[in-house]
Amino acid sequence: MRILLAEDDPLLGDGLRAGLRQLGFVVDWVRDGQAAERELRGQPYAAAVLDLGLPLMDGMDVLAAVRRAGITLPVLVLTARDAVPERIRGLDLGADDYVIKPVDLNELAARLRALVRRSHGQPQETLRAQGVVLDPAARSVLQDGDSVALATREFDLLHALMLNAGRVLSREQLEQHLYSWGQEVDSNAIEVHIHHLRRKLGSELIQTVRGVGYLVPREQPGKPAPR
């Protein structure tokens, strides 16, 4: 799950990035408000962690600008501003969660997962498709009750596809989900991961739409369509 971290404090930003990476997130870190707005407009992040006291552009302004631009990704505001009016203003401006520093990394990760899940219309903590159960918190995958060992990228790829079940994701979109900036991506990396996933989970789960991309069909047609 690729998220944007906007935090101007070098130590805290570094710590959050490292911690969220440990917990399976792909993290891009920006240190000022303008960069945060630019990245949020340009990249399909699953969620954003936004500090409020950002250089060049206040976090609140970033939030307002992003919401005005019609970007609906979940935004978690992480700030030292604990006054109730500030919290209310943050939530009113379109923050999905408002967390006061300091925060436990596991809690932050859990909140982010919950935000992403809800933003995809998934009320449950695990994702299911054709007998495959994916638990984002435990980073585990079960197929018909048996645990399946997946590499990090494979898990992230499956996670993205299952989150967007019923939607075709292009190779570029999948790359954006899996890699943060500056990471070298082999041109056939996605194909390789898909190949591995199919080998481990069977070829039925992930379908190829030729010339477009890949999709995991929705489990129950009666369920509300994700996004």
Binding site: A18, G19, D32, D58, A83, D104
Partner: protein, 447 residues
């Protein structure tokens, strides 16, 4: 006499005392005046009567009966007496007049006024002689009658006054009471206020005399409110400012705990330590500031600002280089100032630190210490973004951080710089650097 504690009582006492005093003076003046007028009038009557007696010079004055019976026609009549002597012999007298001439013992007076005592009674006597000097007339009047008249006149004026006194006291009490009513209202307003209430006191219908007091009071409330507000803000901001370093320490420690890669764990642990150092620095700054706020320190001795600035710039240089910033120093000549070396070092450090901290990568920073117009000037300039006018004005408020300034500053540095400068009678100026385009801070020590 102990002064009454109540203003109302004091005013009442004062007003009534004054009224009584004025009345007393009035009475005395009336007494003196009436007595003089009365004396004049009655003396006139005596003289008139004597003149009548002299002029009459009754034909049968030769009659040897000296006891002419004069009718008592008026209640004052017994108090008036007369004697007519013809050729030394008593020719005529009133019933109450003695046979001997109404003169004092051993005195022979023939004309004019005398006041004398005869048989224990005090008389006012007028003596007159006929033209041929063989008629001697004495007309006398007991002075107690005059006193009685005087008393009657005074009674006439004093009684109404005395009767009016309670009414006057009541009126004065009411007047004083309503006069000090605004004071009572103020007292009630103050008593009813919540202890923490610091809004201005408003007293309806406060007289002009109370306005300065109310103004001072409200100004005091304003100052206290400002102080308490600053104090509250300080506490809130201090807590707020400590949140970020603590959050960083927590995050890094958690990363270190969970990290299996040695290099990454080491990095996280080092970052944890750096976070602790930063929190420590923040706490130190808070303490410095609170110590500075306790009272101004007095300069202790000569300090070479140039040497001190060189040391501080050398200390800050690695951080500047990390950000590819160019830091220039111009502090060749010694610049002696009076002061506390430790505090002055804190001042210079904060200024240089701010310049490094708030300037972007690759910025230029120039620090200069030089003699300037008899004094010493420290100048720290940078090519950073500078500050907007509004932000320039707020600089130095505790914890005021320019929003979007980046970096982990607490905003305390400025407050500290200003305090230390004030303690050294140095002036801090903030402006836009004409050469580098960023912020230019000058600290001037007078010569």
């Amino acid at each position: 006499m102990k002064a009454p504690a109540s203003l109302q009582g004091r005013l009442l006492l004062l007003v009534l005392g004054m009224v009584a005093g004025v009345w007393l003076v009035t009475a005395v003046v009336t007494w003196v005046d009436v007595r003089r007028e009365l004396d004049e009038l009655l003396d006139g009557h005596l003289a008139q009567a004597a003149a009548l007696l002299v002029v009459q010079q009754v034909h049968d004055i030769e009659d040897d009966d000296d006891g002419v019976d004069t009718p008592s026609l008026h209640r004052y009549a017994p108090k008036v007496a007369f004697q007519v002597f013809h050729k030394g012999r008593l020719a005529l007298r009133s019933a109450n007049a003695p046979a001997a001439p109404m003169v004092a013992d051993g005195e022979r007076f023939k004309s004019g006024f005398r006041t004398l005592t005869i048989d224990g009674l005090t008389w006012r006597v007028f003596a007159a002689q006929g033209a041929k000097r063989n008629v001697q007339v004495y007309v006398g009047e007991q002075t107690d009658s005059r006193a009685a008249i005087l008393w009657a006149v005074l009674r006439g004026t004093l009684w109404p006054m005395l009767a009016a006194l309670p009414l006057l006291a009541l009126a004065a009490w009411w007047a004083v009471r309503s006069g000090v009513a605004p004071l009572r209202r103020l007292a009630r307003t103050l008593a009813e206020r919540q202890p923490q209430a610091l809004h201005p006191v408003v007293v309806a219908g406060a007289p002009a005399e109370m306005t300065p007091m109310l103004d001072s009071l409200n100004a005091l409330f304003g100052r206290i409110a400002g102080l308490m507000d600053a104090e509250r803000r300080f506490t809130a901001d201090a807590a707020h400012e400590l949140r970020t370093p603590i959050a960083a320490i927590r995050a890094q420690a958690q990363v270190a705990l969970a990290e299996s890669d040695d290099a990454l764990r080491r990095h996280a642990l080092e970052a944890t330590l750096a976070g602790c150092d930063r929190a420590t620095r923040l706490v130190e700054q808070l303490l410095t500031l609170s110590r500075l706020e306790e009272g101004a320190t007095t300069p202790t001795g000569p300090v070479d600002l140039s040497a001190l600035t060189r040391r501080e710039v050398a200390e800050a240089a690695p951080r500047a280089l990390e950000q590819q910033q160019t830091i220039e120093l111009d502090a060749a000549a010694p610049c002696p100032v009076q002061g506390d070396a430790t505090l002055l070092a804190v001042l210079v450090r904060n200024l240089v630190d701010n310049a490094v901290r708030y300037s972007p990568q690759g910025a230029r920073i120039r620090v200069a210490a030089a003699r300037h117009g008899g004094g010493v000037r420290l100048r720290v300039e940078d090519s950073g973004p500078g500050l907007a006018e509004a932000d320039l004005a707020r600089l130095g408020e505790r914890f005021f951080r320019v929003i979007g300034s980046g970096q982990s500053g607490s905003g305390l540095g400025w407050s500290i710089v200003r305090r230390i400068a004030a303690a050294h009678q140095a002036k801090v100026g903030v402006a836009r650097s004409s050469e580098l385009g960023g912020l230019a801070v000058t600290v001037d020590w007078p010569g």
